[in-house]
Symmetry: C2
Subunit: 207 residues, 2 copies
């Protein structure tokens, strides 16, 4: 199982935002929604072997974890407005999540929690922090499709989260020479993993 | 100058769509808008050395070419709704574009035209068609940052356009083993070019 964790420093945990003005009303949840598309959707299909965690730290209901399971998710569409509507309905349906995941809609689960709760799930599995000062992912032999990939939002990582992740043993890796949007980072990691591990090879150039 | 051309088989050329329902009302212009972000925006910045052409073939006003110049564009935001509003205003401001580009808003230009008019601009420059049966871009020595990259939408290429492009000499290249969304393809090509040609290297791993 490939797992991405997106940390939304200000992203709304309560669903009280307007889909007409996501950047202005949701604490930049739009940044995270674009990562949902990048992590879970391919052309005319859904990646069943991927889980995406959104860490929502905005508002009084925070921190909340939203987990999206490719295995069981339905009705995921690539456009931002559809994704925003789906996440809004999910958050509004369970305004005070408890300390274990509850499935609110197919494949969409909520719980209270932040990075420490995710690290408890990571356990001994491999984990990586996407970081501009990291080693090039293309030369990183240890990445695999059962690892966890932690990615910051438009504000990057806060120092406390980064320290927690590194203390847990997550290695810094990087995808290229420029600082990119979070969804581009997800696309690039996905591509690197697809190239190494995908069973659905379409062309011998990648076998 | 790095140039991406996105062919929108049904994307609205007239601006008569609703930003409340892009996938349902715009002929899937949303697919192309996500490519605008991927081609032109990086974290907290705009790529000045990129031009993006959208071929809009939907509706009675079509075919129309919308060119976005990174050099002169302003007010580009990453969220789909903002991009849709900007493109809608641009299309509505010039309902019957002529046969040469007219700048309607900063960095956004319109003309009538389709693939042949773009190929006239390509001339002797290198061009590539992103195609699942193409050679792996990572092993393609001839790509460069002054080339043209043609990418299909959710429907892929129509046979006529593909034939025109290949007759012109555009080579097929591919980004990976899976069939991806158009914006992922733009992100992956951009990353490959950044790795080879970017002057703004943030880390010695990529030098």
């Amino acid at each position: 199982m490939r797992r991405f964790v997106l940390i939304g420093q200000t992203a709304s945990a309560s669903g009280d935002f307007s889909v007409e003005d996501l950047p202005g009303s949701s604490g930049r949840l739009d940044v995270l929604l674009r990562c949902v598309r990048a992590a879970l959707l391919v052309s005319h299909g859904l990646r069943r072997d991927v889980q995406l965690y959104l860490v929502l730290r905005g508002g009084v209901a925070s921190p909340v974890l939203l987990r999206i399971n490719g295995q069981s998710a339905k009705f995921l569409r690539p456009d931002e407005r559809s994704l925003a509507t789906l996440v809004k309905k999910t958050l509004l349906a369970l305004p005070a999540p408890g300390d274990s995941f509850v499935e609110v809609r197919p494949g969409l689960e909520l719980r209270s929690g932040d990075v420490p709760e995710i690290l408890a799930e990571v356990g001994d599995a491999r984990c990586f922090v996407l970081h501009e000062q990291g080693d090039d992912v293309r030369h990183e032999a240890s990445i695999n499709d059962d690892a966890w990939y932690f990615i910051g939002d438009h504000l990057g990582f806060d120092v406390v989260s980064l320290a927690l992740l590194e203390r847990h043993g997550c290695r810094r890796i990087s995808v290229g020479p420029l600082s990119l949007h979070s969804d581009d980072v997800v696309s690039l990691i996905s591509n690197e993993l697809d190239r190494r591990f995908s069973q659905e090879k379409a062309h011998p150039a990648f076998s």
